[in-house]
Amino acid sequence: MAKKTFKGRVVLSGKVTGKATVSRQAFNTSGSYIENMFAGNTETAPCTDSSNKELYGKDISGAILCTPTTVGSTMGGMCLMGMKSIGVGPEALLFSKPIDTLAAAGVLMADIWKDQRIVTIDMLGDEFLKTVKTGDPIAIHEDGTVEVG
């Protein structure tokens, strides 16, 4: 596919390359890591949000997660922090919409207090999410530029 470039707002900067994991519906953070939160899985992160047809059952450990925003329980922020700490959290979060308060709290607390960065770019625009597909190559740059393809 032809490479496409998008520019968003840098919430937490970093340079990351990998493959996209896409949830076109808002990503329910705590609902997606139930097995890691409550059943002791520290090896993989099979998405436990049964309402998420794109990701349910798939391993989202270390993902570059592309989604509009996150939703769910107010535990969602510390869930991101906890998942990063045990090694199954996302490597990067790429939001087409403005970041929500839960994800913002999670990535900031992990970064400032645990020195564990989840590179986060928001406001990438609806076109970003229309373009990117799970498995597409992704390159994230320090200035908030995201290359797809």
Partner: protein, 536 residues
């Protein structure tokens, strides 16, 4: 081979549940699974070493939260993905655009800037840095000083909360405390009441191994004693309330909902952890429902019911429809008793049930109820935003919503094994009501005890009021098998394996939403308690 080892050897596709068809879309799962492993990172830090392990992992049942969890599903009532307008704040009065060359910055006072620069030590500087960065992402112009007292929703000592505990411990080690003594959500374990069953006691201890550490750090940071730990922190016996307009640092979706709506306080729906950081600093960034604009209603809920509804079910209908946007509800005030212009103690229970359900089936942080809630009484329909939508709830619509409440018991045809009353925690009026109801049924039936345990959740200070005012009634219902407990019902029900041994029924739509409990009306619940059978 242990199941855990077996699972580890499976390819990613084998993790897919049998019910999922392997289609072209699902074929992307393999890519997704590999994406994490192949990711290169030059940011602050790579993946950290694995932190903990818990024995007896089961892939199939990760607790009752699975399949039924959480405040929002990310889909609407018709199953379509939603994203527009979601901010997590319950308000869309936030930043919509940004200038990369001129990112939004908050205006800080000299004192606040000095704190950021280290005038009160490096840990307090980190506390304020987190708050300021968070606020700037949402267009906050300034920080507000907290009033009242904080309320924390960090209450479950599961292994994965350790990073947050470490953050709190770093703050406590620096000698910092919350700006005022604060309340905390109820604990997810109770070893004295529901924990008398050794199987369930061990499940609680296995599920929440860090509970002692959590209690300790809250104590060091200035939490009030455990007899007031309750999700219903605003009941008179607990007394964590403040005057209308007061800005507070609270988390716990149902308490935020009640505080904003019924008490007209100003509380953004915070992620767990942020509320404690704000409590330490005594500062909250001003955005969302802290602003007048952010408290406008985007939905008019036009209630046209022929009889008083199940309040939790009504809240479920509203929350599912509006998700996190603010609703203005009319046509319901005739069932809300008022005293001196405010909802009375009976109304408190109804509004608690309604609001907590909007906050769990959706993520509503604030609602206005015509002729009931303070801002609706003052401003009426001027609270409706220009572009509001309307949702009519009549008898047929409420029946449709309740018809979608599924039977999620592992054995759907089994008999009920427990009755759970009170989520959020019961008020005094509610435990008095239920105690009288059960006591009357026991004495009329000639039975010595209820047929299955009745679990009555409330804080100790609420239960103690019943002991003080109606000691004989309390004695009799205890003898009849009612278990007064401080527990958080969803956290208790969410324990791994609980759904295998318990088929519970409840009066709480919030508890139903977060677990496998089934919802019934009060008379049906009494019959179930007395017979151990579902109504015919």
């Amino acid at each position: 081979m242990k199941r855990r080892d077996f699972v580890k050897t499976l390819p990613a596709a084998a993790l897919l549940p049998i019910a999922v068809n392997v289609t072209a879309e699902n074929a992307e799962a393999a890519d997704a699974a590999q994406a994490g492993a192949g990711t290169k990172h030059s940011g602050k830090s790579p993946q950290q070493p694995k932190g903990f392990s818990v024995a007896n992992k089961t892939h199939d049942d990760s607790g009752a939260y699975d399949t039924v969890h959480c405040d929002q599903f990310g889909i609407d009532s018709e199953g379509n993905p939603i994203a527009e307008g979601l901010s997590g704040t319950g308000s869309d009065a936030g930043l919509k655009e940004h200038d990369p060359d001129n990112p939004h910055k908050m205006k800080l006072t000299q004192e606040e800037q000095d704190i950021l620069d280290g005038s009160k030590g490096p840990v307090m500087a980190k506390v304020l840095k987190t708050i300021v960065m968070h606020g700037e992402l949402f267009g906050a112009e300034r920080l507000a000083d907290c009033g009242g007292a904080p309320h924390s929703s960090l209450y479950t000592g599961g292994p994965w909360v350790e990073p947050v505990l470490e953050m709190f411990e770093e703050i406590a080690d620096a000698g910092l405390k919350a700006h005022a003594p604060y309340t905390v959500n109820p604990m997810p374990l109770d070893l004295y009441s529901v924990g008398q069953d050794p199987v369930k006691r061990n499940m609680m201890l296995d599920g929440y191994p860090m509970q002692g550490r959590l209690i300790q750090v809250h104590t060091r940071l200035g939490a009030r004693p455990l007899d007031v730990w309750s999700c219903a922190c605003y009941v008179p016996e607990v007394g964590n309330t403040a005057k209308p307009g007061t800005v507070v640092a609270w988390a716990e979706s149902s308490a935020v909902n009640y505080g904003n709506s019924v008490l007209a306080m100003r509380i953004n729906r915070m992620a767990t952890g942020m509320e404690v950081l704000c409590a330490i600093a005594g500062k909250v960034p001003v955005f969302g429902v802290l602003t007048d604009e952010g408290r406008k209603a985007k939905w008019h809920i036009d209630v046209r019911l022929s009889k008083e509804p199940h309040w939790g079910a009504l809240g479920g209908a509203v929350g599912t429809k509006v998700v996190e946007q603010i609703p203005y509800i009319s046509g319901i005030d005739q069932w809300i008793p008022m005293e001196d212009g405010k909802p009375d103690l009976v109304a408190m229970g109804k509004l608690k049930a309604f609001g907590s359900s909007t906050a769990s089936s959706g993520a509503v942080g604030l609602y206005h109820m015509e002729k009931v809630t303070p801002e609706a009484k003052e401003q009426g329909r001027k609270l409706l935003a220009d572009d509001y939508q309307t949702y009519v709830i009549d008898d047929a619509e409420l029946a449709r919503v309740m018809g979608n409440f599924k039977n999620l018991w592992k054995d759907p045809d089994g008999d009920p094994t427990s009755v759970y009353l009170g989520c959020p925690h019961n008020t005094y009026d509610e435990i008095f009501y239920w105690s009288k109801k059960i006591d009357k049924a026991i004495k009329e039936s000639g039975q010595e005890k209820v047929a299955i345990p009745v679990v009555m959740a409330c804080s100790i200070v609420v239960r103690n009021r019943l002991l003080d005012e109606h000691p004989i009634l309390l004695r009799d219902v205890l003898r009849a098998g009612v278990q007064f407990t401080t527990i958080c019902t969803p956290a208790y029900q969410g324990l791994k394996g609980m759904a295998d041994i318990d088929r519970g029924v409840t009066n709480s739509n919030k508890a139903r939403f977060y677990s496998r409990l089934r919802l019934f009306g009060d008379d049906d619940l009494l019959q179930i308690a007395m017979t151990g059978k579902l109504p015919a």
